[in-house]
Subunit: 226 residues, 2 copies
């Protein structure tokens, strides 16, 4: 993800690192690539890379995400910038971490020549990560939990239509704690950010669940839970 740079140099290299989350099997997962080059050969890392001279940070994170994973135009939020001197053994690289949450079923993960492998990992069972990417993932999980409570960021994770139970499970999984069913429903419906589709989830061995959708999938501030 980086190229050699002289340490003494006053110029640095700017990287961006997308921390891409999804839920798989009711576990929060993060998308990582296996690096081919030394000294991190065969080590997993966020699918980031260097920022081009003629692109903004936002443009770079979209481009790299598309090139490295095939995922197009997710909603990114800037997380934090990592600038310890020794964070990259090749030289001075400052990296701006970004965060997104998306539906793993809706994206097809693409492998590239540059990276050997690309895979979702449960955040509870991360492999050894290159650079300070473990810190990045850690910080991203915490930020994601905060964002869950103050925005409708989950909208980008869920299918177009979903049951309230499915929504609750997402919250429980990411927050790592159980929520009360009745209180959750009362609260989320009072926010007027969902509407019934009129459809039902059928063909299951139980009472069919009402399907809901977000009034707007645009990520915006909402006080979700207190």
């Amino acid at each position: 993800m980086t190229k050699p740079v002289e340490k003494k140099y006053k110029f640095a290299v700017i990287a961006v690192d997308p921390i891409i989350f999804s839920l798989i099997d009711n576990q929060l997962h993060v998308l990582l690539i296996k690096m081919k080059k030394d000294p991190y050969q065969d080590t997993w890392a966020a699918p980031g890379g260097l920022v081009g001279g003629d692109e903004s940070l936002d443009e770079a994170v979209w481009r790299l995400t598309k090139d490295n994973t095939g995922i197009k135009d997710p909603h990114f939020e800037q997380l934090s910038t990592f600038g310890e001197v020794e964070r990259d053994p090749f030289g001075r690289v400052v990296s701006v971490a970004y965060l997104t949450l998306l539906n793993a079923d809706k994206v097809e993960i693409k492998t590239t020549q540059e990276y050997g492998e690309i895979r979702w990992f449960s955040v509870k069972r991360l492999p050894k990560l290159a650079y300070d990417h473990r810190d990045m993932v850690q910080a991203a999980v915490e930020r994601l939990q905060e964002r869950l409570l103050e925005s409708n960021i989950v909208a980008s994770l869920l299918a177009e239509e979903f049951t309230l139970t499915a929504l609750q499970v997402v919250y429980e999984t990411i927050l790592g704690k159980k929520l009360d069913k009745r209180n959750f429903r009362k609260k989320i419906l009072s926010l007027k950010i969902l509407k019934k589709t009129g459809h039902q989830e059928l063909f299951k061995a139980n009472r069919p669940a009402e399907l809901y959708k977000f009034v707007s999938k645009r990520v915006q501030p909402v006080e979700i839970l207190g």
Copy 2:
């Protein structure tokens, strides 16, 4: 604050920009320096600068703050990173903005050869600012308001001992709205982050006020107001 860089270059220059707030005459002020060099000659800007090859971002913001303003080791929080391609007319400079709040009376602002002038400006009456520093100040004000509600960041602004009314005025000024005196006192005292010093503010033409101090001035999360 920047040096010429070729645009095509893949390397960029990293800058840090401290957004330094204080309260003066019951108005939120930000510390700015007047630039000497083209193309921003005589334009005001945050007292930032370039990050050295052998220092972290955090180290750089402390060094530059000390060199440019004389202020030593304030509590900085990373705000956001600004990386639009054209944000600096000299070339590609990515800047990491930092935020701090301090007591203007306790620091002596130092002028340097490099910058013509250094001054506090009310955030309500900002001059024309260099680069995207107006956006930075704007973002910093919003973040500061959030931090006021979820941490004891005000501790770094106040004198060692202060009255509850003084504390309330700080909140009102930064948040830009009036608060109820009784409710404010009830809430802030219930948090157990203050303790009475036993001293009083005397020699005023009114009933003397009790003086309080923070149990810990270390900035840490606290749910202040809901």
